[in-house]
Symmetry: C2
Subunit: 152 residues, 2 copies
């Protein structure tokens, strides 16, 4: 865990930029764009799973396993983008992201735990178990979206 | 490979949407947003590596290995977003993406090969070898950016 935090900090310092571009501290607007990109892709790969869990989309275990693995990686990407230097940038992030950081961190941890569980059960778990894990991920997303994101 | 193609097609049909939203065929503007998100995140995680290869950023083998693994996943995400139904949506994708599909596909394959090689050497390879692999990834990005993307 400490190692991950160190790496995140390194990435935050080095991050941002495109291709061979300059690599100073990431600019706030870049951080916001990057974290929103991670959310967009989580939507891409979680959307079909939510549809399967609710019965709107035919269940496909291979797609669940692939998307769960993608989500496990994507879910590591948004959080260093919620740097304090982004709090003045227009986005749906509520001020509480930057004032109630312990609760925000806990909410992001919960979603990482839920996604990890989905990855685990997606490897051969029965459909009901997998769908329950998908619903748990959905709930864990709500932990941030309900408390730390402005309604549209 | 065939299996991957089948999964990509399934994802294309099911994909898009956020959370529990509707899951019909992804809309063209959503596909463009998603593919651009994948490019944004590839920029986030490749940027520091390009900086290391050019000597602008201190070399850090742990960051290289982590980012290379991230890139290996992210690099699988943009391509189904270049669906023919997106060709009227404003973006930097040139018409050749949709007319010279074989060359485009080959260029995307090259970047996947280059990233896979970087992943491989990032696991314990010496610094010079890793930096050469980073430069090869950079070149492979150019294979699309030079031929299939409008200059800004």
């Amino acid at each position: 865990m400490n190692k991950k935090l160190v790496l995140s900090s390194v990435a935050l310092v080095l991050g941002a930029g495109y291709g061979g571009a300059a690599l100073a501290q990431a600019k706030p607007d870049v951080l916001v764009k990057q974290r929103q990109a991670a959310m967009t892709l989580q939507g891409k790969y979680f959307g079909p799973l939510a549809g399967m869990a609710s019965g709107k989309v035919p269940y496909n275990a291979e797609v669940v396993a692939r998307n769960a693995a993608y989500l496990d990686t994507l879910n590591k990407m948004p959080w260093d983008g919620f740097h304090e230097n982004t709090k003045e940038i227009k986005s749906r992030a509520l001020p509480e992201v930057f004032t109630d950081t312990a609760k925000f961190k806990e909410a992001t941890n919960q979603t990482q735990i839920a996604v990890a569980q989905l990855v685990k059960v997606s490897k051969g778990g029965d459909e009901a178990t997998v769908k329950a894990a998908i619903n748990d991920v959905n709930k864990s997303c709500g932990g941030c979206h309900d408390n730390f994101r402005a309604k549209q």
